[in-house]
């Protein structure tokens, strides 16, 4: 399972109604168990890149493969910046996490088993019967991550996951993320415009240029001793 981006090209219509080229022949690979951070200026196309990997939008040309398939074939966990909007406040934490299983129409017994399995691994510091709005920002984002993980995704994409959080929540969530990413074997891409936040999580950081966006430089932060 890996993410492969081969020579993608993408233009968008800007606010001034002009066509802007944001990616021109961009290629990279994110391997299993690898957490890659993407650092770049505002508006350089970081979120558009994640959207293309997730299958929300398509490149004009080039190819994206997630675990060998086109985006949208395998389940992907996408963690949004706006955690309050990505969670469902009418559902309890339990139902939010189980949401991907509920829509897959798994039996109640199977859902309970999968929930038990994930709760055993992560040791939640809050009740599953609470509603998202009863949790702190970091805890809400954590619920969003667990919801993404329960359906055994092929990749995790994170778009500025800490940007709406205070410092203590950021530290708490970064710790939890590190625990999770050490136990799962899937590629993770995290986008941020705060380098400190990327350094807490990422193994490699790519520094992106202005539009059309290319990888200017790569910094290896952690030499991870995994099987690949």
């Amino acid at each position: 399972m890996s993410i492969e981006v081969n020579g993608i090209r993408k233009s968008i219509v800007s606010a001034k109604k002009t066509k802007e080229l944001i990616f021109d022949n961009l290629s990279f690979q994110v391997r299993d168990s690898e957490v890659v951070g993407i650092y770049g200026p505002n508006g350089c196309g970081k979120t558009t890149l994640l959207n293309m990997i997730a299958g929300i939008s398509k490149p004009d040309s080039g190819e994206i493969k997630v675990a060998g398939e086109n985006p949208g074939v395998h389940t992907i966990s996408y963690i949004f910046q706006e955690y309050k909007r990505s969670l469902y406040p009418w559902m309890t934490v339990r139902d939010n996490i189980a949401f991907p299983l509920i829509i897959m129409k798994l039996s109640k017994q199977e859902i309970a088993q999968r929930m038990e399995k994930i709760i055993d691994i992560v040791k939640l510091p809050f009740s599953l019967d609470k509603y998202p709005y009863e949790l702190s920002g970091g805890q809400q984002q954590y619920v969003a991550i667990l919801r993404g993980l329960i359906s055994s995704p092929s990749a995790i994409l994170m778009d500025e996951p800490f940007s709406a959080m205070d410092y203590s929540n950021t530290i708490w969530l970064a710790e939890k993320m590190n625990e999770i990413f050490q136990t799962i074997q899937i590629p993770v891409v995290m986008v941020a415009h705060n380098l400190d936040q990327l350094m807490m999580i990422a193994y490699r950081v790519w520094f992106m240029s202005e539009k059309p966006c290319t990888i200017l430089e790569e910094k290896v932060l952690k030499s991870f001793a995994v099987s690949w």
Binding site: G55, T75, Y78, F80, R85, P89, W90, F99, P100, Y131
Partner: protein, 247 residues
């Protein structure tokens, strides 16, 4: 609560004072005590409860039918924004027609029975409910929809698991507006063509017989009924939509 009670008591005292001094002809302004006496008499000697029951029946059947049609239809066209652009003009037009205007047409179609009154309540409320629901559904957060889609939800699952719940706050506002409209339509249609039971026809009877205290009593009664319906809905809303004002 105490402040509200004080203002009501003050209003009644002022009203009593105005009638005691006879500044206003009692034909136009009945004394509170006469209104209370008349109310007691109406409750004891007339079919007032049947009037209330028939008026409420017309309101609830009309509004409930409007909810059953307007909410799902509004969700569908609001979810598909391209569909909403087609329907927006028609809905806005229908919403702008005073429902009472279609009462003669309803009489021609359904006759003088309850069906014509319920039909007009339905017409007036369904346009409001469809419009409110479609507006709410078209403004559901893209992040919420995309997150569900990425997690594997299909279109119909997004519609009833995400769009519906995210629109509930505005749907409840629509239901409250529709119920207020339903009360007005039901009572006015009862006043237009005589029906055996109904608060509207009871008010008209009181006006024909120059029974001013009865008119005042019935007006206050309708006000109290409307307020009770509204408060009940607010209570249901606070229990049902527990996330309101918390996100």
């Amino acid at each position: 609560m105490i402040k509200k009670l004080i203002s009501i008591v003050c209003l009644i005292l002022l009203w009593q004072l105005l009638t005691e001094t006879k500044w206003i002809n009692p034909m136009f302004l009945a004394a509170p005590i006469d209104v209370i006496h008349k109310g007691y008499q109406l409750i004891r000697e007339s079919d007032l409860f049947l009037d209330i029951l028939h008026t409420l029946k017309r309101i609830f059947i009309g509004v409930l039918s409007a909810i059953l049609l307007g909410v799902p239809f509004g969700l569908l066209i609001g979810f598909r924004k391209s569909a909403y652009t087609y329907f927006e003009g028609v809905l806005d037009f229908l919403r702008s027609i005073p429902p009472i205007l279609v009462f003669p047409l309803a009489l021609l179609t359904f006759g003088r029975g309850d069906a014509s009154r319920i039909g007009v309540v339905f017409f007036g409320c369904s346009a409001i409910l469809t419009f409110h629901t479609a507006q709410a559904a078209s403004h559901v957060s893209e992040v919420r929809i995309n997150s569900a889609r990425i997690l594997g939800a299909k279109g119909y699952q997004i519609l009833y698991r995400i769009i519906f719940f995210d629109s509930l706050i505005d749907i409840m506002v629509g239901i409250r507006v529709a119920l207020s409209m339903g009360i007005i339509i039901s009572i006015v249609t009862e006043m237009l063509i005589g029906t055996k039971y109904g608060l509207g026809s009871r008010v008209l009877d009181a006006q024909i017989s120059y029974d001013t205290p009865a008119i005042y009593f019935l007006v206050i009664l309708v006000g109290i009924l409307g307020m009770m319906i509204n408060k009940s809905l607010q209570y249901i809303e606070s229990k049902l939509i527990h996330w309101k004002d918390k996100i």
